[in-house]
Amino acid sequence: MFRNQYDTDVTTWSPQGRLFQVEYAMEAVKQGSAAIGLRSKTHVVLASVNKAQSELSSHQKKIFKVDHHIGVAIAGLTADGRVLSRYMRSECINYSYTYESPLPVGRLVVQLADKAQVCTQRSWKRPYGVGLLVAGLDESGAHLYYNCPSGNYFEYQAFAIGSRSQAAKTYMERRFEGFGVGEEFHILDNETVQGLIDAFEIVGEETPAPEEAAPAADEPAAADQGAPADEGAAPMDI
């Protein structure tokens, strides 16, 4: 993307019908560290890569609990993301207070999208520089949405945003049919996450099959040895 004479103002159209400032805002999302989400019929999972400014600093917080039934992962300008998370929490709690009921995820996402759209049509504002993966449970099941700086939103089975997200997207595209198989949103602690990562790393290791009888152990082990080479590794695009 190169500089041009139509990209100074968010309220200036290009002759091709593009709003460059909005596109630049989406670029900020692509440059941020990755956030991923995927869902089944009953659960939605969010994961994020949390960068630290330096060796001495803490890691950035990119996953927020919005309500008992909704969580959000962000990529891009995390400061913008915090502000939007605060808005989402406020909307959820106001709805709960009035109706004694959880705000349906689909409605929260529309409100968020409308808020983002406003910033694409005011000359004194700028678009939010953050992409949000909104995950939640409501009466109609588990949902995962992606909210753009442009004010668009889409529902996904699985999605990834931020830098090197294409690798994750391709990996999930190949497997999403197997995902279909209300619990509270909670952020996993480091030990649990590390344990899960360790459990996934099976390249070059014998897969133990303790429940199977000894003579049958060879065949499943051999099959498992072959499988990780295809399934365990994700294509890297760096």
């Binding site: 009035t98 109706y99 004694e100 009921s101 349906p104 689909g106 409605r107 409501d138 009466e139 109609s140």
Partner: protein
């Protein structure tokens, strides 16, 4: 007072409805409805109210429908000021309209409507400009039955059987004895009629023209108005003034 048309300032409220009335024109009821009774039964909720609108001690209006459906899943019954009930219906109309406009498969159920009403009633009470009603909100959504009540001061709760006004004193004791889980429709109607008959005998604002409404997963059905059979030939009612001559 020198205050705006419907405001009332805290330090003036010392006690008594007349005090409240003098501070704002709408702090006193004019046309009122009497008891509403609601019970849970096997398939949903049964609710009943008579069709009287009293103007003080005059039984002035005799075809007032005091129960109305709200959205797909709820039924609202009101006692108290009829014009305030109409105002509430107008608020709920708007609420349901916006809910439908989302067009997203979600809908406000009876629990949500009840809580919304609670917020409205309590907020009005805090501004010293109450909606002079006691409301019964019943409904069923996704198999879950709900029956709640909220009144002009914002007191709200849910129960298996609720009543407003005189119904609290005359009907609920009957319901406490005779209500049970999974009443059939016929049993429920009989029970409500028993309560309404007692109210007809003993509540002077009751009229003998009532409706029974039921709400089930299929929707709301409001019965046509009808009257209850009464019996006045008790011997105790004959010559009522005998023995009343003379001094105390």
């Amino acid at each position: 007072m020198g205050t705006s048309k419907n405001s009332a300032y805290a330090y003036q409220i010392v006690g008594g409805w007349d005090r409240l009335a003098s501070l704002n024109t709408w702090g006193y009821p004019y046309v009122t409805g009497t008891s509403v009774i609601g019970i849970k039964y096997k398939d949903g909720i049964l609710m009943t109210a008579d069709m009287g609108g009293s103007y003080g001690s005059t039984l002035r209006y005799k075809s007032v429908e005091r129960m109305k459906p709200v959205g797909k899943h709820s039924l609202l019954g009101a006692s108290g000021e009829i014009s305030d009930f109409q105002e509430i219906l107008s608020y709920l109309d708007e609420l349901i309209l916006y809910d439908n406009m989302w067009d997203d498969g979600n809908s406000l159920g009876p629990k949500e409507v009840h809580n919304y009403l609670t917020r409205v009633m309590y907020n009005r009470r805090n501004k010293f400009n109450p909606l002079w009603n006691s409301l019964v909100l019943g409904g069923i959504k996704n198999g879950q039955k709900y029956l709640g009540t909220v009144n002009m001061i914002g007191v709200h709760f849910e129960d298996n059987h609720v009543a407003t006004g005189f119904g609290n004193h005359l009907a609920r004791p009957i319901l406490r004895d005779e209500w049970h889980e999974n009443l059939s429709f016929e049993e429920g109607v009989k029970l409500l009629e028993k309560c309404m008959r007692v109210l007809l005998y003993r509540d002077r604002s009751a009229v003998n023209k009532l409706q029974i409404a039921k709400i089930t997963e299929e929707g709301v059905t409001l019965s046509k108005p009808y009257a209850l059979k009464t019996f006045w030939q008790f011997s105790a009612f004959q010559n009522p003034t005998v023995g009343a001559e003379g001094s105390w």
